[in-house]
Symmetry: C2
Subunit: 582 residues, 2 copies
């Protein structure tokens, strides 16, 4: 089989204007950026306001393994499968971060014959939205350090007299807004800024700081959750950047930088329209992480797509305990729009890996033995799929299991897995997807199952309401959501809860940041754990995004590069084409 980039290059793509017009946009509602990308205007939402909404299909997965279960392949493949059975369909996916493209993971455009195209444009820069997030975020950082410097240098009183501004009296120990870059760069995780040559102070006030990857910026979460540009402006204004010497929060509004941050992100508010290899219109918008943020593409993109297509396929990051949970408890609440159907992607290799019988490590290839028939491991790993099926049902959302087939998979094992699922719950549809190798045609069974499933109206119910306290919400996700036996708040977290309540943040949603590699908070615990505690080390306030995230275990917000990173194989050839991108 050809490589992803070879398949993508050999596809005959349509002009993006034809894709846009075919999707039902009018010429003044999109701006082509070259032949294969277009920015979609939010004006379209006004015209389409009264059109009935399509069905929202949310693709999730079992607990992931280092190779990934093919969630994006299934998302793109399903949208193509729906089109193949003459349904009007669109896909909505996140913009890939360039860090992983150059690091370990490679691109995130799907793969095989189910890709967003052109994949090199999707994976590199796209239309600059992540760069805008990075720029707006670091503008706030520069604003904080500049203000700290000027106020400290002169003293509050002199500062006020000269500048005509009110002193903010920033507590340099409580600056909570780190910097961001769209790179995997471990050396930037912990840094000291504002260092000076001996005896000088021209470089500002020395303090500890660090960089996260841009996908971890609160602005990325805000972009994904904002309703429109004015809402983006308000949310940015609410972001808490630091605290003053009296312990009161200082927002981007207080720093008078919220307007400029919004201006910086003005074009980013528009989703980017692309196409799948089979010409299904696909909106790319925002790319928040699914641990310290909610891990789903934007509400704006969903809203546009739902007015244009009968079926909108989107995905939540990691397993259903992560992106799906957050889609239901954070995104659905903000959007007032819940999923009509969930597709749980499972693979034979992934389930066997979830048996705990294989010693898998991130960054190293899977052992050969996992590709051979191994009923024992499959049955053991099936516990994990059962957990995810039950988890989706908790929210009242109909479930379809998509078995993402790899060429090496044995027919016998595939049949065995289908039987296991039917025996476990005959209300759950199952379909084998060969979207990777066959594109939409390989996803026709899955598409039919999804269409059938969407006939039953979902009885959607999130795990908590905004009126509950932050602590109750955390408990709901841990105990009802994960099935943990307890949630333990550190002393620090307890103090923070009290502080957030005092400052009026008790109405926010909660976002548990834990390992995606286990349903529990410990990566090595496989399958479907039951007796476990969720320890909350620390809380982080995202007042603009509208949630508080809880650090449960170690969560990396700035990845590192391995010793032989993916960038080493990238180059241009003599024709100026990109080589080595996967």
């Amino acid at each position: 089989m050809l490589s992803d980039i070879e398949i993508c290059r050999s596809a005959s793509l349509k002009n993006i204007s034809d894709i846009a017009l075919g999707a039902g946009l009018t010429t003044d509602e999109f701006q082509p950026l070259g032949l294969h990308k277009a920015k979609v205007s939010l004006e379209s939402l006004k015209r389409l306001e009264d059109k009935p909404k399509g069905k929202l299909v949310l693709v999730t997965a079992i607990t992931p393994t280092p190779l990934g279960e093919g969630k994006t392949v299934t998302t793109i493949g399903l949208s193509q499968g729906l089109a193949a059975i003459n349904q009007s369909a669109m896909a909505c996916v996140r913009q890939p971060s360039m860090g992983p493209v150059f690091g370990v993971k490679g691109g995130a455009a799907g793969g095989g014959y189910s890709q967003v195209a052109p994949m090199e444009q999707l994976n590199l820069h796209l239309t600059g939205d992540i760069h805008s997030v990075t720029a707006a975020h670091n503008l706030a950082s520069a604003a904080i350090d500049a203000r700290l410097y000027h106020e400290q240098r002169e003293g509050a009183e002199a500062f006020e007299q000269r500048s005509g501004l009110k002193a903010l009296n920033i507590d340099p120990k409580r600056i909570v807004w780190r910097r961001v870059l769209d790179h995997n760069d471990r050396a930037l995780r912990m840094i000291t800024v504002g260092r000076n040559e001996e005896g000088k102070s021209i470089n500002g006030f020395e303090r500890e700081d660090g960089f996260d990857i841009s996908a971890a910026s609160e602005l990325m979460a805000i972009l994904a959750l904002a309703e429109n540009l004015q809402d983006l402006r308000k949310r940015i204004g609410r972001t808490v950047l630091a605290y003053n010497q009296n312990g009161e929060p200082l927002t981007a509004e207080d720093f008078q930088v919220a307007g400029a941050m919004t201006v910086t992100m003005k074009d980013a508010i528009e989703p980017t329209l692309m196409q799948t290899l089979e010409g299904v219109p696909t909106l790319i918008h925002a790319g928040p992480f699914a641990n310290i943020a909610h891990g789903n593409s934007s509400i704006i993109a969903d809203n546009i797509a739902l007015r244009l297509a009968d079926y909108v396929v989107t995905e939540g990051g990691f397993g259903s305990d992560m992106g799906f949970e957050k889609a239901c408890n954070i995104k659905a609440t903000a959007a007032k729009q819940s999923p009509d159907c969930a597709v749980v992607v499972a693979t034979l290799r992934g389930l066997k890996a979830n048996s705990g019988l294989y010693d898998l490590r991130p960054g190293t290839p899977l052992p050969d033995s996992i590709f051979h028939d191994d009923t024992h491991a499959l049955v053991a790993g099936f516990e994990n799929l059962k957990w995810h099926i039950n988890n989706v049902k908790k929210y009242g959302v109909p479930v379809v299991v998509a078995i993402n087939r790899f060429p090496q998979d044995s027919t016998q094992e595939l049949e065995q897995l289908s039987s296991l699922i039917s025996e476990f719950d005959d209300t759950v549809s199952v379909a084998v997807s060969e979207a990777f190798g066959k594109g939409g045609e390989g996803a026709i069974d899955l598409a039919k199952a999804v269409v059938a499933s969407c006939q039953n109206p979902a009885q959607f119910k999130p795990l908590y309401t905004t009126e509950q306290s932050l602590e109750e919400k955390l408990m709901a996700v841990a105990e009802v959501g994960y099935g943990a036996s307890s949630l333990t708040l550190s002393n620090k977290a307890k103090l923070q809860l009290a502080e957030f309540k005092k400052h009026g943040f008790d109405h926010l949603s909660v976002c548990l940041a834990k390992t995606p590699l286990s349903i529990s908070t410990e990566a090595h615990v496989k399958g479907a754990p039951t007796q476990f505690d969720v320890p909350v080390r620390e809380l982080k306030l995202c007042a603009g995004a509208g949630f508080v995230y809880a650090l449960c275990g170690n969560v990396m917000t700035m990845p590192g590069l391995p010793d032989k990173p993916a960038f080493m194989s990238l180059d241009i050839n003599e024709d100026g084409e990109i080589t080595g991108l996967s």
Copy 2:
């Protein structure tokens, strides 16, 4: 008079496709990005190869004052003036950095009725080229720190065995590649990276580092000097990122990151086509500083424009001792293309400021008195203009002086200045430009003077040849170029010259980084100083860009924000339009 952004918004701009086709490009040679920007393919150069080249007009200025002399206004205005007298004209300018847009200076699109439009698109992101430079640059930084970490953690031998790569044995004290961001952020000038919690080492190897603004990246200079994508690839491969423990240079090629850096900058190699308010096609490409780099827009843009138009107007940063000198000694050599005419922009206020009779400070408004008739100050300041006229003539380039008129300027003083110039040198043409207030019509006299001047073929002669030693080249710029009485190398600089020679870098050009506010290396020395020394503190190697830059005095490569930065006035209004941008 309306504000710049009001004028820009009220202009009726053409569709960029019409601009491109009108300029002589074919439909497959440009890609529209929205209505008012297009990327121009380098394929156009192949088709146009045999077309005769137009005249290259280089706009420079007297020694600048804090307010600027209106060089970009004159560049854009002149291109409009040429069009107004039915000449085929294009302009080529640099992409503005977002740091100054949010800091003190504001945008850099020209002003009044001589602007590149839409100015908010030019000033913010444009087509993402600076973001690409930033991303490619910091990818190299991540590569360096990751390699250092992996080799140090395991030891060279174990690293080689496991990774199959040859150990680079980086000397952590000699990593010469700093990081970059497109912000004014003084706190990042000196930082410590790779810090770890007590007893851990997961965040890498702790070392001193810092950020420059992206315009100061060597990659920005490379983008401006590269001939095409393959040349970009080679130049990036030659960049020296660090030295090994034996003192030998380690290049981007050695780190196996040059390919990925080029891939990251692949779209940036194409100039962006925009238009002036009067529809003159304008290429925007690259934005290197005019102190630590050569301060001119790209060779690629010039090459395309020179095949399409009879007159191409471009500008060099700061006064003629800075951007113009570097255009002649660095860019012209790399491009094998020299200017046919130079326009020296002068203002009454600027000349009076150069008299040394006014106490001007950056960031504070000019005193009222400078706007009143003051023959004494004008005559004294005229010494500076004389110096710049003579400087341009040193290179054998015909001179036109453009007096950029401000509304407050007195007719009497304007006439006086014209007389002073004619008396000083009757071979120099003089024209008053009212491009700011009247657009192209206000620059017709200037356009006529430029056309007349271009009838005399330039006898171009740079100050040095590549065969000369680096030290001889430095002396040539200081003594012949600036008219200094001496050049003094620090001991460090002497050792560096010897090292560069040993590593085969003696053929590179030189780039003197000094204050732009004086012809000498000391900002407070006004007028036309004669007896002064040029002290070279330190040298920096830019092997990819093809020059060594010499730090003469303090040169800031990461600006800071003032206490009341420009970003405070930026916002969006209820219609979603940007307000407060100037």
